[in-house]
């Protein structure tokens, strides 16, 4: 089951450069929340704060609170947090030295699971959820790099799902893919939301409109507006949101 997120006064910096200015936002569980906005608006930084990947960059820091089902993530261990909050990146990044199978179970294996039968079950389950099982079940031993771009990205999704997170963060997961592969990822996202809370960053507004239950618009490191996707696109309250979705800038 998914978990809800509650962001309180989140601020983030790269060195002396402040990229998020006090974000407050509620993210409902088992929904798809899309983050849209022009490049450099802080949307990537925002989701990288949710699993504290932001902290791993040199000179980067964040303050404020993010509550995951009520518990502040900044009070706990980031490594553990990342097993609960999975992430899929902009470009597919399977581990080049590992087979398809090893890629999927990497998170489990490297966190200590040795039981081969359990690993196999987990691999099949995750690949099924990522809608990749049928395409790769006969070549699990092949390198992950032998797959097409779209398949690699679904492999990365399977890899993230295998550690059984409750939240899945997706940072423009389809931006490096062709339209057909994009469509498959979008279908997958809508299927997955019954079990996960999904936060997806996208620069593609049609994509947000197609798959997201709620949409948040970021501009210059601020959350301008957050609401039901239909409201954001049909009846935006803020002039800046309207300008953006009607294509007047960005």
């Amino acid at each position: 089951m998914g978990q809800s997120l509650s962001v309180r006064n989140l601020e983030a910096w790269y060195g002396s450069n402040k990229t998020l200015h006090g974000i407050n936002m509620e993210i409902a569980k088992n929904e798809v929340t899309a983050i849209i906005g022009p490049s450099g608006c802080g949307k990537s930084t925002f989701i990288r704060c949710i699993n504290r990947m932001h902290d791993t960059l040199p000179g980067a820091k964040a303050t404020g609170e993010i509550l995951l089902d009520g518990a502040n993530i900044y009070a706990n261990d980031p490594v553990e947090l990342r097993r609960t909050v999975g992430m899929v990146f902009q470009k597919p990044n399977p581990f080049p030295a590992m087979s398809i199978f090893d890629n999927v179970v990497a998170g489990l294996k490297l966190n200590g699971m040795r039981n081969k039968k359990k690993l196999k079950e987990a691999a099949e389950k995750s690949l099924n959820m990522a809608a990749l099982w049928d395409e790769v079940k006969d070549r699990l031993g092949h390198s992950g790099m032998s797959l097409s771009g779209g398949q690699q990205q679904r492999l990365c999704i399977a890899r993230a799902l295998a550690v059984e997170p409750s939240v899945l963060l997706m940072d423009e997961p389809a931006s490096a893919l062709d339209p057909i592969a994009t469509l498959r990822i979008e279908e997958l996202v809508t299927q997955l939301k019954s079990s996960y809370t999904i936060v997806i960053v996208t620069h593609n507004m049609q994509q947000a409109a197609r798959i997201a239950d709620s949409t948040a618009f970021f501009l210059n490191g601020e959350l301008v507006e957050h609401g039901a996707t239909s409201d954001i696109f049909m009846t935006p309250r803020d002039k800046r949101t309207e300008d953006y979705i009607t294509g007047r800038f960005g």
Binding site: D77, V79, E80, N111, G112
Partner: protein, 316 residues
Amino acid sequence: MNKQDKVRTRTAIGDLTLRLLTLGMALVVVGLMIWIGWQMYVSSQESIAKFGWSFLTNRVWDPVKENFGALPFIYGTLVSSLIALALAGPIGVGVAIFLNEMASRKVRSVISFLVELLAAIPSVVYGLWAIFILAPMLRNSVEPWLNKHLGFIPLFQGSPVGLGMLAGGLILAIMILPTIAAISREVMAAVPNTQREAALALGATKWEMIRIAVLAYSKSGILGGVMLGLGRALGETMAVTMVIGNRPDILPSLFAPAYSMAAVIANEFTEATYSLYLSSLVEIGLILFAITLVLNALARLLVWSVSRGPKGGQLV
């Protein structure tokens, strides 16, 4: 402790261990450097105390009379290395230009592989080849020819011996050529293509383009490469020991036998029967260490400053 805490502790311990372990190994490098300098310094104390600065200017090396001076070795090392530099410098840079600016991809990969092989041949094999092939060739044809046509210069006077300063310089030239070629190519490859295009667009010929855009841009890096080559020549031991003649004299003729710092250490170290003798040999090593250290440090700074990226190269 519950399971979660255990996992957390294990992660923390693992992270700390790897960080400290790798840091420790990185420090090994600095430690080695200091250790090398310190060992050399301590072990040469006896000689330093006895001879002081005169060690550097004394021309006599006489283990029987316990009189030690490093000058013949310093002279031999410098002259043989300068011969090497005079030959390998231009040729090495020429190779680099050919590879980087003229050769097709295929030719380039074949020839750079061959030049790398030249660097891979062990020093002792060069020495063997020089004793039996290069030195007889020098004695029988090159030196007589030089003597006949350039004999009015003291450098080319005297009877052709084969094993001597010239042979040492030549074999060093062969050995440092790959270093000079490789580093020069590396810094030339760092010249942005826009520079070349700009020169060509001004109507420059290929050579003019190389001169204005490539060489002007990379000259300090090339100088660094040449200095690294020089550093290698100064410290090269086996091949030189085998052909330089091993006589601690300072003679004007390049045909005559000479001696180098590394060679005297290689030859006499295990035969040094008393501590002052050994200490004097170590002091020669210390001098060699100091020279190559400074030279390498300067050369690396030059190469780094170029290949780390453009900082507004100017047209000369």
